[in-house]
Amino acid sequence: MISPDPGSFRDPASRVVLDGERIVRLLDERGLEGWRALAGTDFFKSAVSEGRLIAAVEIDPPLGSAGALEHPRLPLISYPYEWTYSMLKDAALLQLDLLEGALNAGLTIKDSTPYNIQFVEGRPVFIDIGSFEAYRQGEPWIGYRQFTRQFLFPLMMRAWVGVPFQTWLRGDLEGLTPAQMARILGGKKRFNSGALLHVRLQARMEARMSGRAVREDLRTAGFTPELILANVRKLRALVTSLDWEHGKDGWSDYGSCDHVSRDRDAKSEFLRSAIGRVGPDRVLDLGANDGHFSTIAAEAGAQAIALDSDEAVLDDLYRRSAGLSLSVVLTDLGNPSPAQGWAGMERSGIIERARPDLVIAYGLIHHLIYAASIPPREVLRWLRGFGTPVVVEFVSPADEMVAKLVGNKLPHELHGGREEGEFRALLGDFFEIRSERKLQSDTRVLFDLDPR
């Protein structure tokens, strides 16, 4: 049965639909013309063979479409507000490289949104074949403004101001306007040519030119693709120069904690045993931290999804993940990415997209219980909601980490169900215990659970 992808509707020339497990792109006459212009170029063939552009095979179109393409299914769709700094930067450079290659091949890319880029085995891949079309003489780069709003300004915000871009991109799917970015910069980078041109001058010109069409005037005035190429080269140098130096804040040093190094081998062995029992295609690692357990799942042949709220550790993991069947997702489990956008469906929630066969919840639930104040019963109900086996690490109130998480909270301000006996009783309401193992510390127990 064919169902439209709720996130693919803005471009009337090209629309993605799901045909069971198949990913199909439907094209109208203009979309087909763009595809034919792209498919015949060496640029397309080399970009696909290098893994920078998604593969596409022309198939018989259904009634009502001029053309149709089939794409390989990707392991996970993630959104820019779930990416780390290095992921957005790599995606920005890919966008610029492909635009330059397209222009040199007589083509252009008509938009510039990071939603057209996904990550496969730790590398960015451009997925919107429908964005390519033949370059029309005199046309400026239509996607320039979008590039600055959704790629450049978020990177500037992190690199120059130290503010994470993800919250903003999640709040406004169109990104930052030039005027907003100018205000965020304030007096910073006053003499930087990139800030002056792309932020301050664009903000001013946008305000001055609002509602006045100039596209045809530029064409008549002799606009050339060389002007776009010059802009692309300057933008590439600017993006390359932007850097985010993250320190050892957050959970960057988690791997060196006593309990982590002490229990790591036992937890790895327990996980391998659960993977052997379940045989999952997809493993969701909640609170993945440095990705040690996600990597075990990936090396066991599963597609691993490493989810965490700490950008620094995930950024390091992303940079080490080339060639691994491992996807990095930055989100806070206390407030995971929701379904949003047009009709509340354009971008789906991360939990819906993950579709795991096995869930890992190592070193996680005590954070939800003690730091986020989620009742233990609700944590277990939520884990049961995945409908899959779950590997859980229980941490008793006597554990050294719990004392740190409790902080200034008094015992009566904490939810019940925290003691091991109470927790086991709650487990029985939602899961059947397949196996368990007490860790060396004696305050932690691993459970391999099947949903009840």
Binding site: K110, P140, R145, G186, M205, S210, R212, F223, I228, A230
Partner: protein, 63 residues
């Protein structure tokens, strides 16, 4: 003429020509002359939006 589905922003389109270097400045000047006549300026009553004073000062040499 074929229009894209994306709003490119007129100011952003014109800016691209300026970023392109000397040849681009000529293109931008010509386009502005075609649109607004010899002075190549938007009339004051056409100005929309708001940019703070600090930006206006910083950009006064660019516009």
């Amino acid at each position: 003429m074929i229009f894209g589905y994306l709003d490119a922003g007129s100011g952003s389109l014109l800016l691209q020509a300026l970023i392109g270097g000397l040849a681009g400045i000529g293109v931008a000047y010509k386009a502005m002359r075609m649109k607004y006549g010899r002075r190549g300026r938007v009339e004051p009553d056409a100005v929309e939006g708001e940019v703070d004073t600090a930006e206006d000062t910083a950009l006064s040499t660019e516009s």
